[in-house]
Every structure is written in structure tokens, then in C-alpha cells.
């Protein structure tokens, strides 16, 4: 590659420009606003929001709430009224289900908790609350360590529908996709269970004979 004339002297540039180095110096400038840690950037990396344009993510980011939780803090409780859909910005969240233990005598001990799943960064939960009227939480969510969540709540969705219908539609599409996928896997599981049940019934009948 050649050089270019600067005033009267010729400046020789290296054969290949090291883009990485230039990029490093450009981005390390204190005046360069880093966009890596902003909410739209975070939302961009979430699979269910892949159909959103950058501007739509920017609008969506104005309607969400950032909430921080300490270790062991309850995010929502089973049986409570739920209005929020949460994404995990950082930290871990445990989803647990309360089961009443009929054997235990004291009321404080009668509740038993069983872990359903442990969620991490970029996972989401509580999406049903966004679609259901008077949704009741079917499980309890607890922060396992210090974590930051991004919440989208029903009133925000209503406002989004009122002001930015296109973004609202895309959000609803994303949430519907999550639910459709879940429904699909549940249907599959039901099929397998039904098959197993019929097998067991057959076995039972054979034994009786």
C-alpha cells in the first residue's frame, strides 16, 4: 500500500493497518462513551429480543425497571399477584415451589420448598404475569446472590401499547414465543407420560390375568 502526501513530505504508513490496535486506542479514550454496559446493549444479547431494531430496544429500555436484590431476598412469592416479567442482568435466581407437608405438625414447618431450577445471567422468568389478568405466581423466586434484574411490568406494557404500539407488539410476540416453546415442551412431556402410563396399565392388566 502506498502513502499519502502530507504537505510536502511523504509519510510511509505500514503495509497493513493494525485495526485492533487503533480500535483499542479509540475505545480506551475516556471521552468515548462506553455502550457495553447499557440496558439496550444487554437486551440486544437476549435471544427473544432478536427481532428488535436498535431504536426499538432503546425505547423498550425506557419502559423497564432496574431492580437490585440482596442475597436471599424474595423477588416474588408463590400465590402473590404477579405483574412482572424479569430478565437477569447479573446474578443467580432460584425458582422454588412450596409444597405443603401433611406429616409435619407445626405450622411453620409444614411448608417444604423444592428447587425447580436455578437461573443465571440472561435468563428470564415470570413471563406469564405479563399476559394473564390477575396472574397468580405459581412459584417463588429468590435471589441466590446479589443480583440485578430488569423488570417489565403490566402497567409498562399498557403504556407501551398506548404510546409505541409496534414495540409493544414485538414484545408481546417475544413473550408469546417463550410461552409457545414452553407449551410445546410440556405437550411433548405429556405425550411421553401418557405413553408410559398406558404401558404401565398394560403391564398391570397382564399381571391381573
Amino acid at each position: 500500500m502506498g502513502g499519502f502526501k502530507h504537505e510536502n513530505e511523504e509519510v510511509n504508513l505500514p503495509e497493513r493497518l493494525n485495526i485492533g490496535v487503533i480500535k483499542y486506542f479509540w475505545q480506551s479514550s475516556p471521552y468515548n462513551p462506553s455502550k457495553k454496559n447499557t440496558i439496550p446493549h444487554f437486551l440486544r444479547n437476549i435471544v427473544v429480543f432478536k427481532d428488535f431494531s436498535d431504536y426499538e430496544l432503546y425505547i423498550l429500555s425506557k419502559f423497564i425497571h432496574e431492580r437490585t436484590y440482596e442475597n436471599g431476598e424474595i423477588i416474588f412469592k408463590q400465590g402473590d399477584l404477579g405483574i412482572g416479567f424479569y430478565l437477569i442482568y447479573y446474578g443467580n435466581v432460584e425458582i422454588i415451589v412450596e409444597k405443603e407437608n401433611p406429616l409435619s405438625t407445626s405450622s411453620a414447618d409444614s411448608m417444604e420448598y423444592s428447587l425447580v431450577t436455578c437461573l443465571e445471567n440472561k435468563d428470564y422468568f415470570g413471563e406469564l404475569a405479563l399476559l394473564q389478568e390477575n396472574s397468580i405466581r405459581s412459584a417463588t423466586a429468590v435471589a441466590k446472590n446479589a443480583c440485578k434484574l430488569i423488570g417489565i411490568f403490566k402497567p409498562d406494557l399498557d403504556e407501551l401499547i398506548r404510546v409505541h404500539p409496534v414495540v409493544a407488539t414485538k414484545l408481546l410476540q417475544s413473550v408469546s414465543m417463550i410461552i409457545a416453546e414452553r407449551l410445546y415442551s410440556i405437550t411433548k412431556e405429556v405425550k411421553i407420560l401418557k405413553y408410559k402410563l398406558s404401558k404401565m396399565e398394560q403391564l398391570n392388566e397382564n399381571e391381573v390375568k
Binding site: H65, R67, Y69, E70, N71, G72, E73, I74, I75, F76, G79, D80, L81, G82, I83, G84, I96, E112, Y113, S114, L115, N134, I136, T140, V142, F153, K154, P155, E159, R162, V163, H164, P165
Partner: protein
């Protein structure tokens, strides 16, 4: 698997409620602040539904608020400029007119007294009547004496309310977000849900009532104007304002019109029956067409609850209490239902 859930967040919740209680007491104890705040909030609720319409057209929020604000200013200035002479004349006339009403009532009373004496042989006591007249004229004097004071605070409001309204419209969205940031995690979802429902209920109610009142007021004003009855504009405004009070309002609005009709035209005149028919027609239109269309927006309360809350409201806060009792009752119902579900679970 067993685990103990960490729910020792009492301090945060206590702090949050303390903050709310202190700010409510602070604002309540300063009527000079709370009244303009409340009026600005009501205006905000009436105007706010227009903002999304402009935002959908691609107008920026700031510009949308400025457009709404300017059009509101123009809309409210034109009638004020055009109607100030009329209203001034009508108010002055009312001042001249009141003694006429007084003498009319006196002569009527004497007539009735005579009739009762002839028919039943009982002389009616004059004391009650005299006391009533003294009471009314005393109160009127008090109002007239207080007018300069009222005008001074009105001037203050004229500056403060638009200022507050502008920032409510511009920053209401972010204000809400900042306040929500303070809500402790434990009660966040419930608080957000409840505050949103309350706001929606009160907003819908005020918006619906505003439209209903302006329709009724316009019908009365135009009707009276066409019939050539005096004080058409004042009576229209009175009808619009009293219409806000449920059930009792239409009768309260009718009262000054009946007195005027009796004094001015007499009970057998066509104007008197015309006034009655007009008020009847306005209320039939209101109940038959306006109310059913807006009723979905109204709060869902049983008529008995409505009447009880209006009586309670009038007992503590007078006419203002009658007007705000309904949304307050609806809000109360919502909060109580929420607490009930919290304690007894959702069946």
C-alpha cells in the same frame, strides 16, 4: 429440600411508608400548596390522554407537551376574553337581582302564612323565616368580603397551576419511575399494581365526569340562551359543576333555575315550564346517552355505596367532598380488596 426464606426487610418498608406519610401530612398541612397541586393533577389527568396520540404521529414528548400546552392556553383564553364581559354583567346583575328574590320570597311567605291562617287557623312563626334570611345574607356578605382574598390566591394559582401542569405533563413519566425506585423489593409489584389501578380509576373517573359535565353544561347554556332566559351562562356553569355530584347534583343545578324562573316569569309562564323541560331533557340525554357510553369508564360501585360516600364526603369536606368522594370510595374499595386478598387469599 428445606430452606429459610430471608424476609427481614421490615426497616426498608417502614422507611418507605414513613416517607409517604410525612409527605402526605406535609402537603395536606399546606393548603396553598395542596390545592394548586390537586387542581394541576386533575387537569393533568384530563389532558394527559392526548399525549400518546401526538407521540404516535412521531412528535417528540417535549414538543407534544408544548403543543398541548399552547392549544390549552389558547382554548382557555378565548372564552375567558370573550365571556368576561358577559360573566361580569351577569354577576353584577345577580347582585342587583338578589334583593328582588328576597322580596319575592317574603311576599310569597306572607301569602302562604295568610292561606295557612285561613285554612288551618294556625299562625306560622316568623322567627324561623327571619333567621333563615339573616343567615343567608350574612353568608353572602362573608363571601363578598372574602372576594379580594380569593382573587389574590386565584392570581397565585394562575401562575402556579400552569407551571405545575407543564412539568407534570413533561416529566410525569420519569417522576413515576423515580418514585417507584424507592419502593422496597418486597412490596414492589403490589405497590406498582395498586398505584397504577388507583391512578387509572381516578383518571378515568375524572375524564368521564369532565366530558359529562361539559356536555350537560353546554346543553343547558344553549337551551337557556335560545329561550332568552337571563343568566344563561352562569346557570350553564352551575349545572356543569353540580352535575359532577352523583344523584343529588342535577337537583342542585336545577334549584337556581327554578328560583329564577319563579321570580322572573311566574309559575304559569311558558318560560318556567320551558326551563323545567330543558333541565329534564338535559338529564335524560345525560342518563340515556352520555352515561351509558362513559359508564364503562366509571368506577364500579353499588348505588348504595355511592350515596353513602357522597353523604360522608359532604359531611367532612362540603361540596368538594361530594365531588371527590366517589373516586376516593373506589380507591378505598380497591385497597381494602387487596388487603383482604393478602390476608385471606384469593378464593
Amino acid at each position: 429440600m428445606k430452606m429459610k426464606l430471608n424476609s427481614n426487610k421490615g426497616k426498608k418498608i417502614f422507611f418507605f411508608f414513613l416517607l409517604i406519610v410525612i409527605s402526605i401530612i406535609f402537603i395536606w398541612s399546606l393548603p396553598r400548596l395542596s390545592i394548586p397541586l390537586m387542581i394541576a393533577y386533575v387537569l393533568y389527568l384530563i389532558v394527559e390522554p392526548t399525549i400518546p396520540q401526538l407521540l404516535k404521529l412521531g412528535v417528540e414528548r417535549n414538543l407534544a407537551v408544548i403543543i398541548i400546552f399552547l392549544s390549552l392556553a389558547i382554548i382557555s383564553i378565548i372564552p375567558v376574553v370573550a365571556l368576561v364581559p358577559t360573566v361580569k354583567m351577569e354577576v353584577e346583575n345577580v347582585g342587583i337581582y338578589l334583593p328582588k328574590v328576597e322580596t319575592y320570597i317574603k311576599t310569597k311567605y306572607e301569602e302562604i302564612q295568610l292561606v295557612v291562617l285561613q285554612k288551618a287557623g294556625v299562625e306560622l312563626n316568623n322567627e324561623y323565616f327571619k333567621n333563615a334570611i339573616i343567615y343567608i345574607s350574612d353568608n353572602l356578605q362573608k363571601i363578598i368580603i372574602n372576594i379580594p382574598k380569593l382573587l389574590a390566591s386565584l392570581l397565585e394559582w394562575l401562575l402556579v397551576i400552569p407551571f405545575l401542569l407543564f412539568f407534570f405533563l413533561r416529566d410525569g413519566f420519569s417522576f413515576k419511575r423515580i418514585i417507584l425506585k424507592l419502593v422496597p423489593n418486597e412490596i414492589f409489584e403490589r405497590t406498582y399494581y395498586l398505584s397504577n389501578e388507583l391512578n387509572k380509576k381516578i383518571g378515568d373517573y375524572i375524564f368521564a365526569k369532565f366530558i359529562e359535565a361539559s356536555i350537560v353544561g353546554t346543553i343547558i347554556f344553549v337551551g337557556l340562551l335560545l329561550m332568552g332566559v337571563r343568566f344563561a351562562f352562569l346557570l350553564g356553569i352551575v349545572a356543569a359543576f353540580t352535575n359532577i355530584i352523583p344523584y343529588l347534583g342535577p337537583f342542585l343545578g336545577l334549584l337556581p333555575a327554578i328560583i329564577l324562573g319563579l321570580v322572573e316569569h311566574g309559575i304559569q309562564s311558558p318560560e318556567f315550564s320551558g326551563i323545567l323541560i330543558l333541565y329534564l331533557a338535559a338529564n335524560v340525554i345525560d342518563l340515556g346517552f352520555v352515561f351509558p357510553i362513559l359508564v364503562s369508564k366509571m368506577v364500579n360501585l353499588h348505588p348504595i355505596i355511592v350515596v353513602i360516600s357522597v353523604i360522608v364526603g359532604s359531611h367532612y369536606l362540603g361540596v368538594a367532598g361530594m365531588i371527590i368522594s366517589i373516586p376516593l370510595a373506589a380507591a378505598f374499595k380497591l385497597v381494602v380488596a387487596q388487603i383482604y386478598f393478602e390476608i385471606f387469599g384469593r378464593g
